[in-house]
């Protein structure tokens, strides 16, 4: 029989679910986020309540079986927030626990392969954000940016931007997931901004610094001047910068 497990979508929740599976010796399971579940009559359903102590024990077990990188990759994959991939993470974790050696490079195994594919997609989106984020300077000297990434990559971006822009205040705001990061010259904190109905996250023209317009203008001009018309290759251009990213790119607006 298949047991349906419902969890809250957090990494802690995922690890707690693994704990429950081993605790109750469950065979076939189907792990779902609560909001994805529609009730049917004959299901054996179990609510997983995220529990730090249990999650920590599972994480400790994973750390013994995987390299630090291997644990990181599982975390990054789950962070993607991709729908209905949970059973692949469960499959991966069970395979790891059931094997006597470290299997994180066993790409012939379908769970290992799937996690590796998801990680590749997430890393790619992270890299794209490192490239495509465009800051606008505000009057108080803070650099502000709005993004809409395919996956939830803000936590993965923190280190890169903190190291790079150590001497300027900055905000990166994910308008799809409605939260952001703010660097205050010392630490990075997660923030939520309440935008009024008429006031969208991307409407900030009134508070821009004096020289912002000049540099945006210069950058757009630069972008045009470096193009070589006789080598035009639109297909390649769009493959590198898919159209969905254009609306936040200064040079493409």
């Amino acid at each position: 029989m298949v047991t349906t497990l419902l969890y809250d979508g957090t990494f802690e929740g995922l690890l707690t679910a693994v704990f429950e599976i081993y605790e109750h010796k469950l065979g076939k399971v189907n792990l779902l986020r609560k909001e994805h579940y529609t009730e049917t009559m004959f299901d054996a359903v179990m609510d997983v309540v995220s529990d730090e102590a249990r999650a920590t024990r599972v994480l400790g077990g994973l750390k013994k079986k995987l390299s630090g990188m291997g644990v990181q990759r599982l975390y990054a994959a789950h962070l993607s927030g991709m729908d209905r991939e949970e059973n692949n993470y469960i499959g991966f974790i069970r395979y790891v626990f059931d094997s006597s050696e470290n299997v994180e490079e066993d790409y012939g195994n379908r769970y290992v392969m799937r996690v590796s594919e998801i990680v590749r997609m997430v890393r790619r989106e992270k890299h794209r954000m490192e490239a495509f984020i465009r800051f606008q300077k505000l009057q108080d000297g803070t650099y502000y940016s709005v993004i809409e990434p395919d996956f939830n990559v803000l936590p993965l971006l923190m280190k890169h931007f903190r190291n790079r822009y150590a001497d300027q205040k900055w905000i990166i705001y994910d308008i799809r997931r409605k939260y952001g990061m703010y660097y205050n010259l010392h630490d990075v904190e997660y923030i939520n901004i309440d935008f009024a109905e008429t006031n969208k996250a991307s409407d900030i023209d009134g508070v821009l610094s004096e020289d912002e317009g000049l540099y945006q203008h210069l950058w757009k001009n630069y972008f045009k001047s470096v193009n070589i018309q006789s080598r035009k290759n639109t297909k390649l251009h769009v493959r590198h910068i898919p159209k969905r990213y254009w609306k936040h790119l200064t040079e493409k607006i």
């Binding site: 972008f223 193009n227 018309q229």
Partner: protein, 418 residues
């Protein structure tokens, strides 16, 4: 800043610099450990032009005034164009402000030669120094080394820049003589020799004293123009190989000649840019640097041109059918890397994954291998494999029939002299 004037300058001096194709911002390891601005490590392409090339650095000339008259260059003395020059402060402001907005990874600064080599080089170095010392800028800086500049200036440049480069422009000495009568091949190679020695020496020092300053941590590169002079691929790749081997260059860039000037020594203005050939040269270059191929395996006197229809790796494989098929579950990494359709990443994944069990077609496909090509050259844990005794030519036809070249509509053949 006067908006109109600075815009015009930027347009002129970015336009003149764009034929330098290098835009790499990787290979350095400059950290932001002084709580300053920026860092440089793996390289990021922040945007792409409509011709599909990466925009990673603010690539500009300090000035397009030039005392030289090289036929292939838009900035040559006798060309009647608008001239402009940035001040040191303007370049610094542009770099910092673009960098802070995450437009760029850093600065690529080149220049026309005004007055003399030392005078020009001194200004380039001054900009890099200002960025590093006054603005605590740790982003990427690529400076052009001006042939003929003094060793002291080269040395200073290496202390502030991540990468230095001298463009050879023409793959052979004869080509250079024809198109750039003011430049000498020897003079261009001299700074490369100096920098190579300095880089080796500083790297040794750094191993002993951790605090020793970095010296051009991203090394040297160069560029050759393709299709302006009649050199064949054999000459070009052997010349590239010579520079990789003797000057420890990180990269050689190949720039398909864009006809910008009417000159009897050059291809006519309506000739199209040799983009396919340029692409094949890059593929061949990759095979030399990352796939363990010797240059003679790719081109030689009997095989002086790269095939334009197929990539050089497939070309090598169908000329060497006696090496195949190989067993993916047993062959060593060196041979797996030589299979068409298998890249560096998937080759390593294969070697990792097969420790856990023999791989079959499905699994190999999942690893990212392009079976469309690879299937003719490998066997795996499956009773199905290519049993027909195909010749190299058959395979080429099958592969061409099932793939569509992105270049097919603008193929052109390489100038064949005999």
């Amino acid at each position: 800043m006067n908006e109109e004037r600075i815009t015009e300058k930027l347009n002129i001096l970015a336009d003149a610099a764009k034929y330098d194709v290098s835009c790499s911002s990787s290979g350095s390891k400059r950290k932001n450990d002084n709580k300053g601005l920026g860092n440089a490590s793996n390289g990021i392409c922040h945007s792409y032009t409509e011709d599909g090339r990466c925009v990673s650095l603010l690539k500009i000339l300090l000035t397009n005034h030039c005392i030289f008259d090289c036929a292939y260059c838009v900035s040559r003395k006798s060309n009647d164009i608008k001239r402009a020059a940035f001040t040191v402060q303007e370049v610094v402001d542009l770099t910092i402000n673009f960098y802070r907005r995450n437009y760029i990874e850093g600065l690529f600064l080149s220049s026309g030669i005004f007055k003399d080599a030392d005078y020009t080089m001194e200004r380039l170095v001054l900009i890099a120094k200002k960025l590093r010392t006054e603005h605590k800028f740790n982003g990427y800086i690529h400076l052009k080394s001006i042939p003929g500049a003094s060793d002291e200036l080269m040395n200073e440049a290496g202390l502030y820049a991540d990468r230095l480069s001298v463009n050879l422009e023409m793959p052979t000495e004869a080509g250079l003589k024809l198109l750039a009568p003011d430049k000498s091949h020897q003079e261009m190679i001299k700074p490369m020799g100096y920098l190579k020695k300095a880089i080796i020496q500083r790297t040794e020092e750094k191993k002993i004293f951790k605090k020793a300053p970095m010296f051009a941590p991203a090394g040297q590169s160069t560029q050759v123009i393709i299709g302006a002079t009649p050199e064949n691929d054999n000459q070009i790749l052997h010349s590239a190989n010579y520079f990789y081997k003797n000057f420890n260059l990180r990269r050689v860039y190949y720039s398909g000649y864009v006809p910008v000037l009417a000159d009897s020594r050059l291809p006519a203005l309506n000739t199209s840019v040799p983009m396919v050939r340029e692409n094949r040269l890059y593929q061949a270059d990759w095979l030399m640097r990352n796939y363990g191929f010797h240059v003679n395996e790719i081109v030689n006197d009997g095989q002086p041109h790269l095939d334009l229809d197929i990539d050089p790796k497939l070309g090598w494989a169908i000329r060497n059918m006696h090496e195949f098929p190989i067993d993916i579950n047993k062959a060593d990494l060196r041979m797996i890397l030589r299979v068409p359709g298998i890249g560096v990443q998937s080759a390593h994944k294969i070697v990792s994954a097969r420790r856990f069990g023999k791989l079959n077609w499905d699994q190999i496909k999942q690893l990212g291998v392009s079976l469309n090509r690879a299937k003719y050259f490998i066997i795996c844990n499956s009773s199905e494999f290519e049993r027909r005794d195909l010749t190299g030519n058959n395979i080429k036809q099958f592969i061409l029939a099932t793939s569509h070249s992105k270049y097919l509509k603008n193929t052109q053949t390489q100038l064949n002299l005999f």
